[in-house]
Each structure stands twice: as C-alpha cells, then as structure tokens.
C-alpha cells in the first residue's frame, strides 16, 4: 500500500467518524467539532489525490493543494460563524433552559 493510498484511507476513516458525529451527536458543540473532523478527512483525501495525480516531475499536483487551502479558509470561517451563533444562543433564555433535542 503506497503512502498516498494510506492517507486516502485515513481520510475516509475521518470522514466516516465526522459524518457519524454530525448525525448522532445531540450537543451542538460536539456537532461543530464533528464537522471539523469531517472537513479534515476531506482535506486528507484531497492530499492523496494531489500525490497520486502528480505529473511532470512535480512531487504533487498543486491544484488540489490550492483547493485544500481554500477549503481550510472556508471551514475555519464556518467554525467561527457556528461558534459565534452557539455563544449567542447559550447566552439567550432558550440556551439557558436548553431543552432536549427537537424542532422548535
């Protein structure tokens, strides 16, 4: 098994853990963390894709790397927005009397 394949498999495992966490976790902060795990898994897969697709004597294909950097910025911004909303929510009356999971 080549290094790139190994990284791809790691990525797939992280995606699985992240997806499971996002669907199953009831606590909102845990869901946000699960989203970050899921994102990291996808970026690893992109890394494996870059290594495998390398051509012309390059160590790796630069385009997936550019996509990962863009994706990191997006995931960082998403985590920021979600955390800010969560902080506001926990400060509000609804957050204080945090009811069990269910639609409002």
């Amino acid at each position: 098994m080549s290094t790139a394949t190994l990284f791809g498999v790691y990525g797939a495992v992280l995606v699985g853990i992240g997806l499971y966490g996002m669907i199953v976790q009831t606590e909102l902060l845990r869901r946000i963390v699960a989203f970050d795990v899921l994102g990291s898994g996808i970026f690893l897969i992109f890394g494996a894709v870059a290594r495998r697709g390398a051509a012309g004597g390059l160590a790796s294909d630069p385009i997936p790397q550019a996509m990962v950097i863009t994706g990191l910025v997006v995931a960082f911004a998403a985590t920021g927005v979600a955390t800010a909303l969560l902080l506001r929510l926990s400060a509000s009356a609804e957050g204080v009397a945090r009811r069990p999971e269910g639609p409002p």
């Binding site: 669907i23 494996a48 863009t70």
Partner: protein, 561 residues
C-alpha cells in the same frame, strides 16, 4: 467565437465591494450605498442578459486571462442570465422595502440588525451571482459557502433565542450538505483531473467513482435546497427571519443549490444519469409538492404557511429531471424558479406589511385586512395567482412546458401531481383571501401608517410574477426556447377544464375551511410526521438514505457509457 465580457466579474465583485465598504463604514452608510448599488447591479444584470441574448455562444470571462484547466472561468448561458436578472429584480424590491424597518434609528450611532442587514444583503447577492456564473464545480462550492455565510445570519437578525436556534440548525445542516459536495469534488478531481464543467462533460466514463461522486454531491445540494425529506431547517428559518430577509432566503437562496444540481445533471452528465435516478429526484419532488402544500394549509401563522409553500414549490423544480431529454423541461424549470422567486418574495413582503399593521400574523385573525390594507392583500393575491399557475403568470407557462414535455415522453403521472399541487395551492391562497375579506371580529386599529414605497415594492414583484407568462413576446429568438412556444395553444390549455378544475376545487375547499373561526387544530398524522422528520437524527438518516438510494439508482441506469 467571442462572448468574452468583463460584465461577468463585475456582477460578483460590485456587490462584494459594497459589502466590504458597508462593513467598514457602518449601517447608515450601508443603507446609502444601496441607493447606488441596486441600480448598478440591475444594470449589470440587464447588460449580461442583453449580451447573452445577442451572442450565439455562452458568455465567458477568464480571470486574470488564464483559461481553464489552469485558470478560473466565469460563464453565463441563458439560464444564468435569467437567474441574474431575477436576482437583481428581487434585490431591488427588497432593498427598497427594507428602507424604513431596517433603517438605523435617529439618535443611535449604530444598531445591530440594520448594520448586519445592509452588509449581508450585498454579500448574499455576490454569492448568488457567483453560483449562477461559476464554470467549475469547486468555484461552485466556494460560491455556495459564501452564500450560506451571508444567508444564515439573516435568519437571526433580531437576536431572539428561537431564531438563533433556527440559524444554527440551518448552518449545521447546510455545512453537512457542503461537506458531501466537497467529497464529491475530491473524487471527481481524483478521477478526471479537472472540475471544469465543460471539460468534465467531455471526459466522462461510467466509472463507479463518478456515480459515487454525483450521488454525494446531489445529496449535499438537496440538503441545502431543503427538498423533502431534508427540510428540517427551512420552516423555522424562513418563518422566523424578518420579512425582507425571508423574501431573499425563500425566493433566491434555495434556488442556488438547485441551479448547481441542474449544472451537474444536465451539463456535466448531459442527461445521462439514467431513468431510475431521475425518477427518484422527481418522486422526492412530487412528495414535496403534496406534503408541503398540505402542511401549508394546516398552518395557523401566515409566515409559516408561506414557508411550507416554498417546500412544495421547490418540489416542482425537481419534476424536470425525468423529462431532461426534452429541451422544454429545462426552460420550464428555470421559468418555474423565476416565477416562484418573484411570487414568493412578493408574498413574504406582503405578509410582513400585514403583520406590521395588524400586530400579528395569524391567518384566522386577518379579518378586515382586505378593506383596511388593500395593497398588501392585492400583492398577496397576485402572487397567489402566480403560484397557482393561472394565466398570464410564469407558472402557467412553466406548467405548459412541463405538461407538454411529460406528454411527449409518456410520463403523464407528472401532470396529475401538478394538478393536485394546484388544487392545494389554490386552497391556501383562497383561504387567506377569504379570511382577509371576512368581517373583523373587532374593529381594526392601524398600528403603523402605511409607507407607499414599501407597498409598491411588494406589489411590483407580484405584478412581475403575474405577467411573467408573457415573456415569450419579449424574448425573440433566444436560446432558451421560450420564444418557440405557441402562446395561443398554451393559453387555450390554461383556460380549459383540465387546467381549471383543480383551481376551482381548491377555492371550494378554501371556502369550506374559512367557515371555521378558530385556528386549525395542531394535531394530525401529517403534522406528527413532519415533526419527526424534522428531528435532527431522523433528517441525518434521511440524508444518508437519499445518498444511498441515489447511488443504487445510478447503478441501475441505462447503459449509456
């Protein structure tokens, strides 16, 4: 071949620049910037539409002069141009409407909600334009995320706990969707070495990686567009936001992921997704139409009713996929998207005006509104006509395209679904109107003096939606196929018994329901089903089930490659 035009980057950069300047200068300046931005954005959209209609090839622009596969390109065909135009129209009306309720009050340095609104509105505009113009799937991802980050805070402008909860639910489910989409792009890039839509469509081979990627991406986009049964976030988010924000969210934001599904299925796969998968999307659409419309009829609050109506109307958009062999299907789908954008924005604005003046938005308490506040009720009525599909609204023409494409391809069950949809839609539209023209229980007291420009914004959108069916007269020789339609035949169908019986039956149902004086009872099988479908874990499992079924349906596809 030319078709290169700098207007395409301006459509994204100009609103984005306005958002950045508003962020730096504050809410009062942000509101003033819109006096320039709204006409400028409309002019850019009109310019693109005119050039797209004249050009024989789709318009394009290569950023920095680098052509794909190395560079990033923007591209506009007739469908993009039409969506840009309707976005600009809705933005102008919403910007006009929001001058007043979302102005920074006198004597206050800065207020939170107006500041956020006037920064986010151009941000959403830039995101929408970027989605409609993107020429590769990764740019589509970035544009969708830009749009989501602009749209989510619009839900909780008033900062109440329940809207914060709705916003967070919306954000997390949308993020789950975009992650599925991103996995798909990684798989596609790994397999084909490009994400450019044009290049991809030429290099496709029917590999498992392709089908897994498309199934994941489509499911992610369905989560973001809130197609039944993935609609858990939509009703609280769209009903809880302030009226101008609801109008943008319901009319435009949910159309962007749908537009990318169209790009994936019709441009990348070129209709090669196979009958079972396309049938699955249409079946979900049909379920959305029936379920959303019945639930809309059962809502006690006007804004929730309109939000559930959006779930149903999104269903119509997905009926086009089994008909993709016929070019009329895409024309009908885009026409339906535009019609719904105009009508739904008008409806939310009208509901906002009524709620301000009556002090509540209970459907059962609308009595007398028709006499006291005729303009918002008229706007609601015209928008309702457009949703039901009476001529000369855009939906009447969209339905004609759909019905004729369904007849050509022998799938007349789709026409039965639209008939039942029209029946239920006309039932809740007429129910609201019957309530509004009933005698009030107690005399109405006007809470706020009517502002003419805000009434006019809602009415203008409603009139546009109600007259959209005349578009073939205004779009000569366009690539969209709109001009090839025989308007006389379409009109003859629209006034036939086959098209009118659902409307009449719906009106009769509404009349029967309007004799009840109280709110509809908050129990029943469908309401319970909706509540359980909107539980987070159930929606997560539905998401996985949709992805798996799509993947399985792809495996059963017709052998095309």
């Amino acid at each position: 071949m030319t078709g290169a035009t700098p207007l395409l980057w301006m459509a994204v950069v100009v609103p984005m620049l306005a958002a950045v300047v508003a962020l730096a200068l504050g809410g009062r300046a942000g509101e003033r910037i819109h006096l320039v931005l709204l006409p400028a954005g409309l002019a850019i959209a009109v310019g693109i539409a005119v050039q797209a209609a004249r050009s024989e090839v789709p318009l394009h622009y290569h950023l920095g002069g680098w052509a794909p596969p190395l560079g990033v390109a923007l591209r506009a065909d007739w469908a993009s141009a039409a969506m840009l135009l309707v976005t600009a129209a809705v933005m102008c009306a919403v910007g006009l409407y929001a001058r007043g309720p979302l102005g920074t009050p006198k004597g206050v340095g800065e207020a939170r909600a107006p500041y956020a609104f006037w920064v986010l509105l151009p941000g959403v505009w830039a995101g929408l334009n970027a989605v409609f113009l993107c020429a590769d799937l990764f740019s589509g991802y970035v544009a969708l995320e830009l749009l989501t980050f602009g749209a989510v805070p619009l839900v909780c402008l008033d900062g109440r706990g329940e809207t914060l909860d709705a916003a967070l639910r919306y954000l997390l489910f949308a993020l789950l969707g975009s992650m599925l989409y991103l996995v798909g792009t990684a798989l596609l890039y790994g397999t084909y070495g490009t994400l450019d839509i044009g290049l991809l469509s030429r290099h496709l081979r029917g590999e498992p990686a392709l089908w897994i990627a498309i199934a994941l991406m489509t499911t992610g986009l369905l989560a973001k567009t809130a197609l039944f049964p993935l609609h858990l976030w939509l009703p609280p988010a769209h009903a809880g936001a302030p009226a101008p924000a609801s109008a943008v969210l319901s009319a435009l934001v949910v159309k962007a992921p749908f537009f990318l599904v169209v790009r994936l299925w019709l441009d990348v796969l070129r209709g090669g997704a196979g009958t079972p998968a396309a049938g699955l999307l249409a079946a979900l659409g049909a379920a959305a139409i029936l379920f959303g419309n019945v639930l809309a009829l059962r809502q006690a609050r006007l804004k929730l009713m309109i939000a559930y109506s959006t779930i149903a109307q999104l269903g119509y958009l997905f009926l086009i996929f089994p008909l993709a062999a016929s070019p009329a299907a895409l024309t009908g789908g885009v026409l339906q998207a535009i019609n719904h954008a105009l009508a739904k924005a008008a409806m939310f604005l009208a509901a906002g005006l009524l709620a301000e003046r009556l002090g509540h938005d209970r459907v059962a308490g609308l009595g007398g509104a028709g006499r006291a506040h005729p303009v918002p009720v008229l706007a609601f009525a015209l928008a309702g006509v457009a949703l039901v599909g009476l001529p000369p609204s855009g939906a009447f023409l969209a339905k004609w395209f759909l019905v004729s494409a369904a007849a050509q391809t022998g799938q007349s069950w789709l026409s039965r679904v639209t008939d039942v949809g029209a029946l239920l839609t006309s039932a809740y539209v007429f129910l609201v109107l019957a309530r509004a023209f009933a005698t009030p229980v107690e005399p109405l007291v006007a809470r706020t003096p009517p502002a003419r420009h805000r009434d006019a914004a809602a009415l203008a959108l409603a009139v546009l939606a109600a007259l959209l069916g005349l578009a073939p007269l205004a779009a000569p020789g366009s690539a969209s196929g709109v001009s090839q339609v025989d308007l006389g035949k379409a009109l003859a169908y629209a006034v036939s018994v086959a098209a009118l019986w659902p409307v009449a039956a719906g009106a009769a149902l509404a009349f029967a329901l309007s004799r009840r004086t109280a709110d509809p009872p908050a129990r029943g099988v469908l309401l319970a089903l909706d509540r359980s479908l909107r539980q987070w874990p159930v929606a997560g499992i539905s998401l996985a089930a949709v992805a798996l079924s799509l993947g399985a349906a792809f495996l059963l596809r017709d052998a095309r490659w």
